[in-house]
Symmetry: C2
């Protein structure tokens, strides 16, 4: 394991001059119980991308959810009267709304067919991440129960299989207030700190940086989306040459506590 692939904790060493963002094509359709780490290693090797120490492996939530059996057949769902009433107002399937409510601990905002909720994990997103794209007709996918644990599991299994220590991010595309379009963000992380804290470091003029904390895990997720896309059967990517502190960080660190949040 190369020591060069670690940014020492609290160090001011500069970011890498060059990153590679590499799609991992060739994953088969994933079903419940599939050994996802195995399949990822095989797909990477099949593309000539054997893992290196220090790689950041980015995996789309959808394949993790499929492997973990987090799919629900809508015909098995009995909507509550609240779900039915919401669905009628929004022109939605009441069974899908019922699934969204079950995945939510709080509704943050509702309007004109949009449900922005807080999931049981604490993520704030549309429809609690419940989604019918890239799943069989009549089914919806849910977010993994514990995406940080899913990421740690993939990291550990890849280490066992390949001897390589990678960081793992599990990602989904979320909307955000004020700006159009979705961006890919990290909902699970293992092996790196999701936040890079510049506080206490000096800028190029020698002044202390006040409030600068960068959500590096979300920037890595965003970078990976550029090669993954939505329709190309590419649910994984490798980011190579990123220098990271090996820490027990997790994507839950990216959730702003409710009491510090002006928009919840």
């Amino acid at each position: 394991m190369s020591r060069l692939n670690r940014r020492p904790v609290g160090s001011t060493c500069p970011p890498p001059l060059r990153l590679e963002i590499l799609a991992v094509p060739g994953l088969p359709e994933i079903a419940a119980g599939d050994a996802l780490a195995d399949l990822l290693c095989r797909a990477a090797a099949g593309s000539g991308l054997a893992f290196l120490d220090g790689d950041v492996l980015v995996v789309a939530q959808k394949v993790v959810s499929k492997a973990e059996g987090r799919l629900v057949e809508l015909s098995s769902v009995e909507p509550s009267s609240f779900a039915a009433s919401l669905a009628q107002a929004a022109g939605k399937d009441p069974r899908q709304v019922e699934v969204v409510l079950r995945e939510s601990r709080r509704i943050v905002r509702m309007d004109a067919g949009v449900m922005v909720v807080e999931t049981h994990h604490g993520f704030v997103c549309a429809n609690a991440g419940v989604d019918s794209s890239n799943v069989p007709a009549g089914w919806v996918s849910l977010l993994p129960v514990d995406p940080d644990a899913s990421a740690r599991g993939l990291q550990r299994q890849i280490l066992e299989k390949t001897g390589k220590r990678v960081a793992v991010l599990i990602t989904d595309t979320f909307g955000r207030p004020w700006r159009e379009g979705l961006t890919n963000v990290a909902i699970g992380a293992a092996g790196l700190r999701p936040l890079v804290d510049y506080r206490g470091q000096k800028d190029d003029q020698g002044h202390l940086l006040g409030a600068t904390v960068i959500a590096a895990a979300d920037e890595l997720a965003a970078a990976a989306e550029l090669v993954m896309g939505k329709t190309a059967r590419r649910p994984a990517a490798i980011i190579r040459h990123y220098v990271w502190a090996e820490e027990s960080g997790q994507a839950a660190d990216l959730i702003r506590p409710r009491e510090k949040d002006l928009f919840r």
Copy 2:
């Protein structure tokens, strides 16, 4: 100019398998009136990174603002009584609060020293982008007056100087609700469409994708930040091999109209 560097409008061709994210070090300290495009071309060439057709050049707002003279010396600012009152409540410099108010058309949320405002451009961000990092003591920097125009200017000048047609993004790190940490986003764009619209395309299961629009310009900005950092004198990066539709898009397209925004 390679036609391969264009994603035909509305086409379903897949994203690139591999991207390179390349820091452009070696820019000198920028002052008002400096020929930024010249300096960027020289810095890129000095790093062995002569521009290629289809490159996406990402430039931090700070150097654009400096070149455009968008710095204010606080000793020249007379705070209004409203600014003085806000500053006192928040423990801030009343002159800096005055500058924030001048750059704002609306305050979206205020609490505990945080001012989230809508700028005259329509961006919603903390402190209207007014910032004292990486500028001389006693001064603050403002966002460019028209970052899309700044991006178009850089694109045109680079084409004139090098014969290469690049896309240009001007970026700043913004916070967001619900999630900790800043991410780099596009506030100016030229030569590419900031949003990639998948609506009407089919997912891997053959279903039509409903609401998927990806803010690719923000994902490119985020990717670039990973090599730029905050303290390494690297205010620019090149993203190579990204395939884009040559369109007259602009970063203003990323601003959600107020009437469609549930959080403004």
